[in-house]
Symmetry: D2
Subunit: 145 residues, 4 copies
Amino acid sequence: MLEYHDVTVRVRYAETDQMGVVYHSNYLIWYEVGRVELMRALGFEYKQMEIQDDTFIVVADVHCRYHQPARYDELLTVRTRILEAKTRTLKFGYELFRQPDNKLLATGHTIHVACNRAGHVTHFPEKYKQAFLKIAGQNANRSHA
Amino acid sequence: MLEYHDVTVRVRYAETDQMGVVYHSNYLIWYEVGRVELMRALGFEYKQMEIQDDTFIVVADVHCRYHQPARYDELLTVRTRILEAKTRTLKFGYELFRQPDNKLLATGHTIHVACNRAGHVTHFPEKYKQAFLKIAGQNANRSHA
Amino acid sequence: MLEYHDVTVRVRYAETDQMGVVYHSNYLIWYEVGRVELMRALGFEYKQMEIQDDTFIVVADVHCRYHQPARYDELLTVRTRILEAKTRTLKFGYELFRQPDNKLLATGHTIHVACNRAGHVTHFPEKYKQAFLKIAGQNANRSHA
Amino acid sequence: MLEYHDVTVRVRYAETDQMGVVYHSNYLIWYEVGRVELMRALGFEYKQMEIQDDTFIVVADVHCRYHQPARYDELLTVRTRILEAKTRTLKFGYELFRQPDNKLLATGHTIHVACNRAGHVTHFPEKYKQAFLKIAGQNANRSHA
């Protein structure tokens, strides 16, 4: 069973800043790519979650620790886990590695709340909840990350 | 009568790239700030145009020429004009100046189409059209920009 | 003596996403604006810190909690504090308020390490350190934020 | 011989705006991905062009026409050509297609000037120039795009 999901991103010039490294807010966008692709690997399109199920995964909390800078044109692995799944909330964990030396560049987590289109807190539909719980169980000992 | 509108933006670190200058796509965002503030100076909130009048100014065409690089922390003047106003389309012109030496850094234009929420082409509501036409008249000889 | 510094930003269209609210990574960019303006209020230009003093404030850690969504065209107050100042590190705290109702939208912190152009950890030059310590003293009881 | 190069990008949530479509400045970033990957297909890493050859491809002019909106999570093909190659300048052309129906979403071009690290105009090193000229020859009849 899926414990984590890896996706590769290549650093764009637009993502660098005048220090010659990636500007720090862009890591959050890669984390977004990571969780969307994790969901796709679980058989879900986040797009359909919004359209068909009126369920939006709203970001409530973000943490990121920067260990080593990411640089232009590098290939990076975004490793994403589900650390906690509850009726209304979801916690993802992230590790960012540089390819090919597998150096750990950053770690982080995001906490999300299920909301409907009107912005009210809701439950995750059952099919998502079951899938999230299964994968979260694989990472139970990491939920403090 | 208003011929153009000036607004000041300060360059953010996030907007620079590893060349040590502003990444070129960010100029388009400053142009957005320019046209929104031009509309505000005309007495309109673009936000209300979307909400109350179901009219969205969709970007159909963008051109930008970069004369001199903008750099971190500089104060810039975005000078915005309406070059052409028609029933369904609007053309804005932009000049970007560095303060305080008034050096011209960039010029550009954007062409927009009035659409409703459903994405269909529509007319600009009369109150906007009249205001746009007045200011466009001031810039008639510049519409080739 | 300065305990915190307030700066106003207006939400740009480019900063929104298809949920109709601001995309979460943009808050980090406003926090950058907040700390740069706090330094300016202390009499320092961060730009000169890089150029003249070969000292870069590298982001090592970011946390942001999202209480209420920020929306297009809103005027926001970024309130920035220095929570901790050490020889080589600096911790800023942030509160983001919506104007004019003063609703708290987000809180956060960033931790920074002083590095030189070569990317090696260094000391903050004395003039900065003294100023940072003074203002950090005002916020001693908040350093857990 | 290579006439154009195709690369796929997937639309990120961060790239959408509250109209529910991609914010227009992001197309320029995809065009950047397109020209970097075209150069890689020619056997060059743009990164090394900066580091080893002290040659930066500075953007001097951008045009983009938006035919149909790109939307969240779509897979897009960025088709990039070299339209003109001269001693000091380079013109790229772009077509953006939505997969899988191959709908044309946008077209555009960028003009670039070769500069060294100090920001002065320079010549493209011979190895690049020869490669650029070859591919530009394939697109001679399109140089008006």
